[in-house]
Each structure stands twice: as structure tokens, then as C-alpha cells.
């Protein structure tokens, strides 16, 4: 069998919530052995968003590929077992509450004494240092604190409301993967590990980095643009036929404008002085958008998209999951992978989204049941005898799947 890129790399993950699990899930897909440290005393709250701790969709998505090691960290013997795992690992990730890993003796300074070349990533809402480092943070709050939410609104909205989508969690988890891979490659070349302190709010600020320059260079607060562009028209989300159906359209060049007018059957718009060039169209954007919506609102969103794309104009429906599943391009790219989970059965999950020639990835494995792999890890990695494992389970140090 061909080697997977992170073959032989082991991760101990002291991670709950979204960012750290999603990060190590990807390392797992690349072939790393990911050990998620879990405990009934301090259950990953994502396991509790549902009726069965082993059947939560979000949990089961971002905890794929991991093995679950159930251990009571409040017990000194439990802490020692985790330290023994860390000693046999390459990467530690954590997002525990401020001060927690220090109390457990699992902070970077302690860990590097037992594993000097460890790559250790800490992910905190406001970062590991600074006056707010102890403030609890969820992604949606980091969108707010980073300034991003302030700009995420239509110009006439009463206040910015954002979305149910927890931005920037998934953007942050990918920065964590990137950082860990770069640190691993540095360690491959130099033998040196290090500590990486990731701040979610700073990830959010990078998403609107150009807006920050508008403030620091031009000394003014940028205003929310909603779906409009300062340099293109038509540009926006247009209502289509049906209930809450929409299609995005964007036109940048005069060639695209002529193609657009042809495709919607209004060649006369190309001769309308209000729409003579981009600057004119931007000045008359309300009139333009009203005319376009007259056309789109009589058609299915998919028809609008297909008609315009056939004419060489960028257009895309405001997709729901059913649209993504019916999307022939995503099917061609094999964007979703079916994974069989012992409790919930076969479900769809996002696949590794890029293709690298000559590189094999691990087959995606289901998220672990709580404490599913405790005994297996004790045998394989810690080489504990069976009677010792049984004793630790009885003493409540180790937790096993019920």
C-alpha cells in the first residue's frame, strides 16, 4: 500500500468545539494517528447538542479519523497516561479554557520537557496572551469582535445580523492545519519543534484585511456594502421564481455586459445611456437591478444560472444542500464522501477538496464513539498489561465506551 503523507505522525488533541477537532480531522485524513482526549467530566460540548453523544452530526463531521481516549484528567494517574501519550507523539493541539492545560501540566513548557521537538498549537478566541486571553469565545462572537460582523450587512439593515454559520471557525481551523504542517516541515529539516498561538479574532480580522487598510490608511470606517460592488454592475443577488430562491450575477467587462443583455433578451440595454459603461451602471444601479429582477423573478434560479453561464457571464444560485448534491461539477470533483458510522449509519461528509497527483490519502474513518479506543490505545501505544488496564478502568482513571 502506498504511504500516506503523514504516516507515522501522531497527534494528541486536547480539543473541543469546532476549530481544533476540525484541524486534527484534516491531519487524520492526511494519515496522522489522531488521539482525542475525552472525559465524561468535561465532555466536548458539541457531543451534547443532540439526544445521543454519539450521533451529533456536527461532532461526527469534525471528529472523523480520530480515536477517542477516555481518561479522567483530574486524576493524577490519568494525567500521567496522557503525558505518556504525548511523549510518543509529534503534535499537541489544545483549546481548553484559559489556565487548564497549565493546571494539568500539559502546557507547552511542560510538554517540551518530555518531548522537546513537539509541535504544539493552542487555539483561543482572543489568543493565548493579552488581557482578554481568558474570555470564552465562540466563532460567531469572534466575527463580532473582529469587526467583520459590522461590515456584514445590507446598507439599509437596522443592524448587522450575520448568519447561523459560525464564521470564522472553519477558516481558523484551516490556518491551524497550515501552521502545523509548516512547523512539521521545519522540524523535518531542523529537528526543532515549537509553540504556535492561534487567535480566532485575528483570523477574522484577516478576512477583512483590506477593510482594515481602509481604516488605517484612509482614516475612515468602511461601510457595509451588502451584495453590491464598488466597481461592477450588475453585481448582486437577484430574486428568482419560487420561495426564497436567488441567483448571484456579476458583470465586470463590457464584453460580459453585452453578453448579459443578449442572454436576457434585452439587447436594447446596451444602447441605453444609463448603462453605457460601468460608471454609468453604478450611478443607475437601482434602476438596473430592478430591470434585472423583473427578468430573474420569472425564472427558476437554476435556469438563470445556466442561461447566463452559457453566455459567458458569471452566475450562481444561492445554493442549499440539495443544490450542492445535484451539482454535476461537485459530483465530478467527488466533493462528498460517504462514511459508515456504527450508530448513525452511512452519511455524507466533505471530502479532501484538492487533488494532488501521486499522493494517496487515508480513507475517511467515522468519528469515534465516546472513549471507543481507550483500551486499544493502552495496548498499542502505552503497552499496558491487561490487568493494569482493568485496574485503571475500575479506579475511574480510564473511561471506556459503554
Amino acid at each position: 500500500m502506498k504511504k500516506v503523507p503523514l504516516d507515522g505522525i501522531r497527534v494528541v488533541s486536547l480539543g473541543t468545539g469546532g476549530v481544533v477537532p476540525d484541524c486534527v480531522k484534516i491531519l487524520g485524513e492526511m494519515g496522522a494517528d489522531v488521539i482525542k482526549i475525552e472525559s465524561k467530566q468535561n465532555l466536548d460540548f458539541v457531543r451534547t447538542i443532540g439526544w445521543d453523544i454519539n450521533a451529533v452530526p456536527g461532532f461526527n463531521e469534525i471528529n472523523r479519523n480520530a480515536r477517542s481516549f477516555g481518561v479522567n484528567l483530574k486524576n493524577a494517574a490519568g494525567g500521567d497516561l496522557v503525558k505518556a501519550l504525548v511523549e510518543r507523539s509529534d503534535i499537541v493541539t489544545e483549546n481548553f479554557r484559559a489556565g487548564a492545560v497549565e493546571r494539568l501540566g500539559l502546557d507547552y513548557e511542560s510538554v517540551r520537557r518530555i518531548r522537546p521537538d513537539i509541535v504544539y498549537l493552542s487555539s483561543q478566541g482572543f489568543g493565548k496572551t493579552g488581557p482578554y486571553s481568558g474570555h470564552k469565545a465562540y466563532g460567531p462572537l469572534m466575527a463580532a469582535a473582529s469587526g467583520m460582523l459590522r461590515l456584514w450587512a445590507h446598507p439599509d439593515d437596522p443592524y448587522p445580523v450575520g448568519s447561523t454559520v459560525p464564521i470564522p471557525d472553519h477558516f481558523a481551523s484551516k490556518h491551524a492545519v497550515l501552521a502545523i504542517l509548516a512547523a512539521l516541515d521545519y522540524r523535518r529539516r531542523t529537528g526543532k519543534g515549537q509553540f504556535i498561538d492561534l487567535s480566532l479574532v485575528e483570523v477574522g480580522a484577516n478576512l477583512i484585511g483590506a477593510s482594515y487598510l481602509e481604516y488605517t490608511v484612509n482614516c475612515r470606517q468602511p461601510q457595509p456594502l451588502g451584495n453590491r460592488s464598488p466597481y461592477a454592475a450588475p453585481y448582486g443577488i437577484y430574486r428568482c421564481k419560487g420561495d426564497d430562491q436567488w441567483c448571484a450575477i456579476s458583470v465586470f467587462t463590457e464584453e460580459e455586459w453585452r453578453a448579459f443583455c443578449g442572454a436576457v433578451g434585452h439587447d436594447e440595454w446596451t444602447r441605453d445611456a444609463r448603462f453605457a459603461d460601468t460608471a454609468s451602471r453604478l450611478r443607475n444601479v437601482d434602476a438596473l437591478d430592478a430591470l434585472i429582477e423583473e427578468w430573474t423573478s420569472q425564472r427558476e434560479a437554476t435556469e438563470v444560472m445556466n442561461t447566463l453561464q452559457a453566455a459567458g457571464v458569471a452566475a450562481g444560485v444561492a445554493a442549499r444542500s440539495a443544490d450542492a448534491l445535484a451539482d454535476p461539477q461537485l459530483e465530478h470533483l467527488q466533493a462528498f464522501v460517504e462514511v459508515d458510522h456504527p450508530v448513525v449509519g452511512k452519511k455524507l461528509y466533505p471530502a479532501i477538496p484538492f487533488k494532488i497527483t501521486g499522493m494517496t490519502f487515508s480513507e475517511s474513518r467515522p468519528a469515534p464513539l465516546f472513549a471507543e479506543h481507550t483500551v486499544e490505545i493502552c495496548r498499542e501505544i502505552l503497552h499496558l498489561p491487561e490487568n493494569e488496564i482493568a485496574r485503571l478502568v475500575d479506579a475511574g482513571v480510564l473511561e471506556v465506551a459503554s
Partner: protein, 405 residues
């Protein structure tokens, strides 16, 4: 061009032919220490024309989106339609580890600079192609844009107020998300090359990657909700105001997360335990979501008496996560931002001195660093083409006249 602190990727050389789709990818690599040479046509990367501009003066050196995503890179100009331009490019490829490009599928091959041709010059080369829809497949010739890509990513339909149009995210999140994924694939390929010596070709589409690095759960949630005999799939509508409510306060707005009953109890405590909120049904998350409008009207009467920072700190003490809906000055001036030194001093020949948002992580051994502002058009032509490749100044002048650089 030596820097004081070397980044984790120091020693790697990256050729950057990418437009705005991949600009954040090569910036990420540069911030970690790779040498990134941005190769532009003599007219300049089209994204140099993106507003807003420094001082509102439209100019190739003053585009703020360009200045943000191209810091830390060296810049040269090269006309790849000319034979001399291609020749110089092949020379650069010989000593490069990575090439990132974002032309339409087949364009580089049409120039005679496709992956197969370049790997003959440099078998260890890692080439990443970033396109809107991928190198092949039914949509591979389709066009995308920031708003179209976000719409297709499934991240748009749930954004904004329930009644209005979906509201696009600020910035260019689909491109930046794709860029992070592309950077991951490149570093993974470099890591693997360390043991095999082999180069790789990487195909990255915005269509597939944007959803991954913004919010990838929609299809998974849908597939869980499709269990035969199970509950109906949840409607995919705009519920942000109900789930993560935003409340006005004295000097702005706060956003509140109360997923658990005890977080709710803490919130009630923070705003003074008003009797109207102590009815037990409000402790139920689903009840609050279903009655969000009524709850909003009640909450406003209490939140309006506090400042953003009072609620932020009181929430922290009581155990309910509350965050200010910061505007950009709030974030720049925040003691947290200042304590971490997030904004960096930057100097650019056309723009002057300004504050630049730094990388979102601190590294102990190999600091992530931004050592120079985005390059002016052709700023490093002499340094790269003459000092490194050995062209004379006269030859460079002749190439300029011939439209090659």
C-alpha cells in the same frame, strides 16, 4: 533581502502567477518565510485596479485590496506571450520549489508552460493551479466571482435577516478560503517531497474549496436529516438573528451566545435579573429561537443601559459569552489587539507609513512576520533578473523596450 528572523518555510522559493484568487495563498507562504516572487504582466496584476485606493487616488500602487494580499512578496514583470519572457520564466522555474497559477484551465499548457513541460526542467517542482471550477468537469469553463462563489458555496442562503435578500460576507472570503486550502496542499506536498524528492501537480477549485474553509456542514446536516423515518430536513433559511442574537446597547451592539441553560441564566444575571425573563420557558434554547422577535423587544429594554464593554466584561464574569460588535476602530484600539502587537508598522513608497494587520498566529521558533509592503510593479526586476539571473542592465533595458518586462 536577508531577514532577521527566519520563518518556518525559509529557504523555499515560490513563483506566484496567481491573480486575486490565489493572492492570499502566496501571502500565507510568504508570512511563514518562503521567498515569493510575484510575476506580473508588464501591465500589472488586474487586482492592482481594485478599489478602494489609498487617498482615493486610483493608481496601480495604491489599491488597498492589493496592498493587503501582496505584502511580503517580491515583484517582477514578465510578458509570457513572448519567447524571451518564456525563456526567463523557465530559468526562474529551475530554482523554484513551488509555482502557483490561477489561469483558466489549459492556458499554461497553451503557452508551452504546462506542468509536464516545467517538470522536465525541474522534476521537484510543485505546481498548484487555482481555478474557479476545477481543471475538468462540466463547469470547468464557467465563470465565477466573489459573490457567485459565495452563493454556490451554500454559505449565503442562511446569511442576513429572514425576510430580506441573503447578504454576502464582506471581503473576498471564497478566494481567501480557497487560498488557505491551496497553501495547505502546497505545504503538504513540500513535506512529502522531503522524503520522496518528487514534485506534484495540485488542482484546487474555488467551487469545492471555498465551502470547506468557510462552513462545510450543510450537506452533512442534510444527510443526517434525511434518515428514513427521521425528522424532516431542517429548513435552510436565515435564522442568524434568532440563534446568535445581536442587541443594541448604549454605544453600539453586542452579540450573545446562549446555547445552554446556564449560559442563559448568566445572561439574565448580567442584565439585572428582570422578572420578565425569569419564566422557565426562556431557559429553553428552542423556545428562545422560536420567539426571538418577542425576546428581542424585551432584551433591548435592558441591554440599552450598558456599554458594549460593560456587557462583555460582565458576561465574562458571569459565564455567558458576549462580544462587542466592534467597528474597525474598536478592534484597532482594543487593549487585546495592542497587547498582542497585531498591527504592524509598514512603509510603502507610494502610500507612506501605515498600520497593517499581521498574521493571526505567534510562533516561538520561527516567527510569522511581514517584512515588506507589497511590491511596486516590477520593483525587483533588477534584483531578480540582473543580480540573480545574470542579465546586464542593458539587456534589461532592451527587454523593457521590447515589451518583455
Amino acid at each position: 533581502m536577508e531577514t532577521e528572523c527566519e520563518g518556518a518555510l525559509a529557504g523555499y522559493r515560490v513563483l506566484d502567477l496567481a491573480d486575486v484568487k490565489g493572492a492570499y495563498c502566496t501571502k500565507l507562504l510568504a508570512d511563514l518565510g518562503a521567498e515569493v516572487i510575484k510575476v506580473e504582466s508588464p501591465e500589472g496584476d488586474p487586482s492592482r485596479r481594485l478599489p478602494p485606493f489609498a487617498g482615493d487616488i486610483p493608481d496601480l500602487e495604491r489599491s488597498l485590496p492589493f496592498l493587503f494580499r501582496n505584502a511580503n512578496k517580491l515583484g517582477i514583470t514578465l510578458n509570457l506571450d513572448t519567447e524571451s519572457g518564456k525563456g526567463i520564466f523557465r530559468q526562474l522555474v529551475q530554482s523554484a520549489d513551488v509555482l502557483v497559477e490561477s489561469f483558466a484551465p489549459g492556458f499554461m499548457t497553451g503557452l508551452g508552460l504546462g506542468y509536464d513541460a516545467l517538470r522536465e526542467i525541474n522534476p521537484g517542482l510543485i505546481t498548484a493551479s487555482i481555478t474557479e471550477f476545477g481543471q475538468s468537469g462540466p463547469y470547468h469553463n464557467w465563470k465565477g466571482s466573489p459573490i457567485v462563489d459565495i452563493a454556490l458555496s451554500t454559505d449565503l442562503i442562511e446569511a442576513g435577516f429572514t425576510e430580506g435578500a441573503p447578504c454576502s460576507l464582506p471581503g473576498m472570503p471564497a478566494y481567501d478560503a480557497t487560498s488557505v486550502m491551496a497553501a495547505i496542499s502546497i505545504i503538504l506536498a513540500l513535506f512529502e517531497r522531503g522524503s520522496t524528492g518528487e514534485g506534484h501537480y495540485i488542482d484546487v477549485s474555488v467551487h469545492q474549496n471555498a465551502r470547506l474553509a468557510i462552513y462545510p456542514w450543510m450537506v452533512t446536516l442534510h444527510s443526517y436529516n434525511r434518515t428514513p423515518g427521521g425528522p424532516e430536513p431542517a429548513p435552510e433559511i436565515r435564522m442568524g438573528a434568532a440563534v446568535y442574537p445581536v442587541y443594541p446597547c448604549k454605544d453600539g451592539y453586542v452579540r450573545v451566545v446562549t446555547l445552554t441553560p446556564w449560559q442563559w441564566d448568566a445572561l439574565v444575571k448580567v442584565i439585572g435579573e428582570p422578572e420578565v425573563l425569569r419564566q422557565p420557558e426562556w431557559r429553553e434554547f428552542l423556545h428562545r429561537v422560536a420567539n426571538a422577535a418577542a425576546l428581542y423587544d424585551i432584551m433591548v429594554e435592558f441591554t440599552k443601559h450598558y456599554t458594549m464593554m460593560e456587557l462583555f466584561e460582565a458576561g465574562h464574569r458571569a459565564g455567558v459569552p458576549i462580544a462587542p460588535v466592534a467597528d474597525l476602530s474598536d478592534f484597532v484600539d482594543s487593549p487585546q489587539t495592542k497587547a498582542r502587537g497585531f498591527f504592524l508598522d509598514m512603509h510603502h513608497p507610494a502610500v507612506g507609513k501605515f498600520q497593517y494587520p499581521g498574521p493571526p498566529y505567534k510562533w516561538t521558533e520561527t516567527p510569522a512576520a511581514v517584512n515588506r509592503a507589497a511590491p511596486c510593479l516590477g520593483e525587483h526586476n533588477v534584483a531578480i533578473l540582473c543580480d540573480r539571473l545574470g542579465l546586464s542592465r542593458t539587456e534589461l533595458a532592451a527587454l523593457r523596450l521590447a515589451g518583455v518586462v
